[in-house]
Symmetry: C2
């Protein structure tokens, strides 16, 4: 136990299973609520300001446009998920099945605990423009690459028998990100219970 | 071959693999393009009219509100998918593994061929109000019930060994619907090739 705790601390001080902290800075949190309720295009800066308890110039002081708010939400989501994923992989060590298990656990925990955040990041991406869109796609590819690498390592090691590593990795990623679309905290399973079941299902999908 | 064709015709005259036909009536097709580009809340009836080549009163003649357009798109998507799914199950006959295979094939074909339609139906549901929202959720539950029933039958028959039938069914549904989020016709695989691979992956996920 001591060793495991020590590993977590060296993993960039990230306890990747801990969701007790604040999700977003207050202005972005207010914007997220508005975007979930009304969509990005249906939200005005005035509404975000009202919800954040700030003036419109007060919002513009931090974020020069509504687009910057969406960009901020998407960036925070991808950065948080990536940081947690890297920490999970560090926790797992070098054994490929354990790396797969902890990465799936991490993906499901994130998309259950942060379902609204992840839902907006996924459904409003089409509203991101230019560099913000390119940066988001690069972050998503980097994130997907973590699982793809583990799957490819598992296939190379003969641990996974799937004949379609690329599609299997994609299928498992979307089944985990899909949790954000339907998971409700009031449901039957806690995020932790759901994650444990998804680990079993995802391993089976790989032919493990 | 003759027998199989005959079955398809009795299956409500639906060739569930055929996507050569028109997806939506012209007004709904115009609304879909606008919603994909700008989101539901960011679209005006005037823009839909402009794209459809109609006047604003011309749109209102068919659809009394923007909400009715979204409702129409969601209804068409769910009705089309359900009709195809029932036809696929009739094609499959009584054998549970074949029922599972054809239903997965049907889900993937739909979400690849109709990705924009399915994407809007999934991401803008929160914008549906009252009875329209309840009707959509009921249609989605009915659709999900088809796969859940097949999975439960497979578990009862000992064909599927998953210890978590409910979560496995949900995971496989979201991995298939997730195709609408990333599939592009210009990609490496045709919808048919992708569907064949997803059948293999989904069966593995069930412990088949």
């Amino acid at each position: 136990m001591k060793g495991s705790a020590a590993v977590r601390i060296t993993a960039a001080d990230t306890d990747w299973r801990d969701y007790s902290g604040r999700e977003l800075p207050p202005v972005l949190a207010a914007a997220l609520v508005c975007f979930v309720d009304q969509g990005y295009h249906g939200t005005t800066i005035r509404e975000v300001a009202g919800r954040a308890g700030l003036s419109v110039p007060g919002i513009y002081h931090h974020y020069p446009s509504k687009h910057a708010l969406l960009e901020g939400i998407a960036q925070q989501a991808m950065a948080d998920l990536f940081r947690r994923s890297v920490a999970a992989l560090e926790d797992a060590g070098t054994e490929v099945e354990e790396r797969f298990r902890l990465l799936i656990e991490c993906l499901v925990l994130f998309h259950a605990h942060r379902s609204e955040h992840a839902f907006i990041a996924a459904s409003e991406i089409r509203s991101l423009r230019d560099e913000a869109r390119a940066a988001h796609i690069a972050a998503r590819d980097r994130q997907q690459g973590l699982l793809t690498d583990v799957v490819n390592d598992g296939v190379a090691a003969g641990v996974f028998t799937t004949p379609f590593p690329a599609e299997s990795a994609r299928a498992v990623i979307t089944m985990c990100t899909g949790v954000a679309q339907w998971y409700r905290a009031a449901g039957e399973l806690t995020p932790e219970e759901l994650a444990a079941r998804y680990v079993v299902i995802a391993r089976a999908a790989m032919g493990s």
